[in-house]
Symmetry: C2
Subunit: 616 residues, 2 copies
């Protein structure tokens, strides 16, 4: 089929996408129809001329992928699906209803959506992961991502620009819908398409500047992108917000406003319907380029080789574990933010260089790309210092909303890192991770448990986090020990225990020291290694509390709010049990790990005092 | 003085900065001497030729400012201070010790440091705020920021590039120390200085490319920056990591490694000492350009005009309050991320356009610039949707470490926003904010309390957060009501109360509805508006609990971990009281606010059931 002959049909599709977007948002009483109208030709060309996919099989691994980075334009995406027969026109009108999966912004409750969008500047990061995944599985699928111009302000977009250029990701085609209007005012560069083009060229992307409402230009830009090798393409599309509806076209003040039922709506629809043209040939998506492939290799997992008494940092055990796991399962991927020699993800890089992605110091795109990889079947382990995961907190939030299968690891947690000072100490990462209700949160104290928990998180379905520590700690578990997610280990117990002390990570060893110190004085305590904070074994915690005079003391290398104390308190509250918390309660400073653990009240000495202080 | 005649002295200073950095890190046994060595000429030129400041008066408002964005090079900064007589050579050797303020990365415990650095890519954002502050106070001081090349990977750097260009910030001079080596490997662009120059030019900065070890080139680049009007300058300085010490120069594997005492250290020092040259004229910092100014205007504050029963969203009251406060106090500043028409910061923009900074959708630089402004005496109110504050979580973390006086506001909290769906709902913001031990956390339920709490947070010293809601809520407080930070309001109470129900924001009204419903059934409950989550009034909470059969039920439009339930549980734990929590426990979806409050278990119906469910 000649491109030119498809143009009338594609123009009509664009018009129908506008009509659909206006209808569904008016029916919902809210939404962003004008943000949909600017993208209608782009969407029509993508979904009915450029992208190769099977509308009836979203799970086909060779389907081209599309990410709506400007998630608030969801109605135009749903309209494209209606046009493709993926959903019905009636479905389309359920937009934003509680009983519908057509949410205000797209989420993976819908099988065609890989990752939730709606927090701007994230879709392009996920698209990088999706595009990298094509290489991983040997598919020829291409990845398309539509950005709003306003989201170009987000730094994450530029992190993405670097990684995509660095990885020569020519299967990625991004489009910026330069409609020049943000939510509250004109965007910073308004209709200056050169401002966009210059920046993307500087970022080593291939750039095509077009009129985003000129269908032949759109088609030819997409073709040019497809023909471009060795670098990703950015199509900078000048558009008009509200295009097609004369009384809102290019007008400020119409962002996020549905047309009112009655005259306003009727006039908009009438104008749009008047734009339908005669067409010769219908347009429909070409089929995917199906590739035959063998399933990802799975080999038996080599056992860990730690012996009790070895001294190994959990961060090092993490690195060794992902490397070992990577040998057994090709789906395992690691991503780094230039700290692989500290988190020990370098062990993975050494053994599996093709499945290791260096994102340099760009935590947002690291997590975003991991989301995209996870959404397409990989099991990605992005890791950095836990403190710097806060840089990607919004991405972690969206990963939870997407319920993607990412396995985040953060090292150098807490004051136990010592001299580097507070900027490098994660003291709020547990709060951040526990807040997400579907996030598994693990915190091993020794190399053996770290190893086994990496295995557990890899086979668990859903987002998971592992916190690791900088200092070397003794191996206390044998290879026969199991660490189910949601469990804990009772390390010391006796009938005469006067309190249950709950630690995790480095504080397990402080608790064990306190146990020994106290037993010299004839006082017995129970010691728990709470390696799984979420889910949490509330049954065993409550039982231990009841068996130890209902006294529970938590001790954590973390701030007081949102960490182990809160997790345990919440777990035992139903049994009427309260918790005494030892935690870091002020902004710490540089010092040796020992000085800091002691000064901030979480060393064995403070545990001893807490146990004795209350009439033990 | 001719520039050329200063060169030998400046070269010697650079050598002494290297010697100082090597000495102090070896003494500490850790640190980043090679990252200091690459920047030695840059630092020498800045501190002893370019920057105008009074070494003995860090509080002089007209001193030029310096931000070490590559915070791990702290020893070279401390060495510059030692050279300038700000600290002694003995002080310098206390680096990283627990009893010293010369921490591993700079913090404002030191009077010359405006904001803590060490999380890369943040210093340049703070520098923008510092530079904007010069305009605010009518000073001619210039702001200098030194970046590492590796941190260019961080998106926040590019957010900063946009805002600085947009605001034509010609008093800002940034320098990138392109030493080509990151922590674990060569940086993405290694020594390709053009890769940097092209990107900064594309970002509309004036760019100068130099050899960062050639002192005349350094001096002339700084002069060129000073002469450049209408745009900020980026000096791209090609350097060698470890410069001056032959056996580490340009070698990978030396990041973050101190020289070992003994042969390694002695050889490094001997090499450096051999580089000292004869000099004619000493170099010393020129004095600041002192400007006489009148103190910032303070006028009486107009009272709020809400009447009981008015229906006003707290987000709207927030906007009105900062606008009103801005009229009374010129130090008040507002920053927006293109949602001013939703957060109502547009009210401030309308009345005080010169003190309103539009950052577009770039939350990181918004918070970063606010940090810089706060560090120099402004009282900045950055605001956006609370969900998108998670984008700046690492900046909020560093703001807490810096203990700067920023007043963050987040709107559209919780499922009560309705149809837009989970990506727009903040359900973890309280966890994020409460985790920081010095963060004040406020959450008003009506317009009057929102207004008064804005006042309170403005006059409070230190970081503070206010959470506001999307829906309109009735005004329940009169103008005579006071809202001290750390307080709460008991809204309903009686001798026969069977439980204390603690809400905040929208759930206060659910609790009041539950109260009325229950009282029809002859069951009385106490209702608390917990407008201050941190600090929290644990005394009144515990007293209420004791007076209401020790039953406390919290209800919050927030996930279960880290929010109101945890705050209250922690506050009353010492009294042996546990808490029953109603909170959002799964990823929500689109729907009406009423549907969502009810479906996720935080509506009045669920409060009634909780009260009755346990034998009331």
């Amino acid at each position: 089929m000649q491109p030119s002959s498809r143009v009338p049909a594609l123009k009509n599709i664009a018009t129908r996408l506008r009509i659909g977007s206006v209808r569904s948002t008016t029916e919902a009483g809210s939404g962003h129809p004008t943000s949909c109208c600017s993208a209608a030709e782009l969407m029509a060309a993508l979904f009915f001329a450029e992208m190769r996919y099977d509308p009836h099989h979203p799970d086909n691994p060779d389907n081209d992928r599309f990410v709506l980075s400007k998630g608030h334009a969801a109605p135009v995406l749903y309209a494209a699906w209606a046009e493709a027969g993926i959903i019905t026109r009636d479905d389309e009108l359920t937009l934003r209803r509680f009983d519908s999966n057509l949410e205000g912004h797209p989420t993976p409750r819908l099988p065609w959506v890989d990752v939730a969008t709606g927090s701007l500047g994230q879709g392009i990061c996920a698209a990088i992961g999706i595009a990298l995944n094509a290489r991983r599985i040997g598919s020829e699928y291409r990845t398309y991502v539509l950005l709003g111009d306003c989201e170009t302000a987000e730094g994450s977009v530029w992190e993405a620009s670097h990684v995509a250029a660095q990885t020569a990701l020519d299967s990625l085609c991004a489009i910026t819908d330069v409609n020049a209007l943000g939510q509250s005012r004109p965007t910073q560069w308004a209709h200056d398409v050169d401002a966009y083009a210059t920046r993307w060229r500087a970022a080593s992307w291939h750039v095509v500047v077009i009129d985003g409402h000129d269908m032949p230009q759109v088609l030819s830009a997409l073709e040019e992108a497809r023909a471009t090798k060795g670098r990703p393409t950015m199509i900078v599309a000048g558009t008009i917000k509200g295009k097609g509806i004369s009384f809102v076209e290019g007008k400020n003040g119409w962002h996020g406003r549905a047309f009112k039922k009655g005259e306003e709506f009727d006039r908009a629809i009438a104008e749009l319907e008047g734009q339908l043209v005669p067409e010769n040939e219908p347009a429909s998506p070409p089929p995917p380029r199906v590739v035959s492939r063998t399933p990802a290799k799975r080999s038996p997992l080599a056992p860990p080789t730690y012996a009790r008494g070895d001294s190994v940092a959990t961060r090092e055990a993490f690195g060794a574990a992902i490397a070992r796991l990577g040998a057994a399962d090709e789906r395992i991927i690691a991503l780094d933010a230039d700290v692989g020699n500290s988190t020990f993800s370098e062990k993975f890089e050494h053994e599996h260089p093709k499945r290791f992605y260096e994102c340099f110091i760009a935590e947002q795109v690291m997590i975003g790309a991991a989301m995209g990889l996870a959404a397409r079947g990989a099991i990605p382990f992005p890791s950095t210092f836990a403190a710097f995961l806060s840089r990607a907190a919004d991405f972690i939030r969206m990963a939870a909303i997407s319920n993607v299968n990412i396995k985040v690891a953060g090292s150098h947690a807490g004051v136990s890192i010592g001299e580097d000072g507070p900027s490098q100490m994660a003291l709020e990462d547990l709060a951040m991770m526990r807040a997400q209700p579907n996030m598994t949160v693990l915190y091993p104290c020794d190399a053996m448990s770290a190893d086994r928990l990496v295995e557990a998180m890899a086979s668990h379905q859903g987002p998971a986090y592992m916190r690791t520590s900088r200092p070397k700690t003794p191996v206390i578990y044998g290879a026969d020990e199991t660490f189910p997610i949601g469990g804990l280990k009772v390390l010391r117990q006796g009938a005469a225990d006067v309190a249950t002390v709950v630690g995790a990570g480095v504080t397990v060893f402080e608790a064990l020291k306190a146990h020994d110190e106290l037993s010299k004085r004839g006082v017995n305590i129970r010691v728990i290694d709470l390696y799984s904070l979420q889910p949490i074994d509330h049954v065993t915690l409550a039982r231990c509390a009841r068996e130890t005079r209902r006294r529970v003391i938590t001790v954590e290398d973390h701030y007081a709010a949102g960490g182990i104390g809160d997790a345990v308190a919440s777990a035992v509250a139903a049994d009427g049990i309260t918790v005494q918390r030892l935690a870091v309660r002020e902004i710490p400073r540089s010092g040796t790990p020992e000085q800091l653990l002691d000064h901030y009240g979480i060393s064995s000495r403070h545990i001893v005092a807490a146990v004795l202080g209350d009439g033990a």
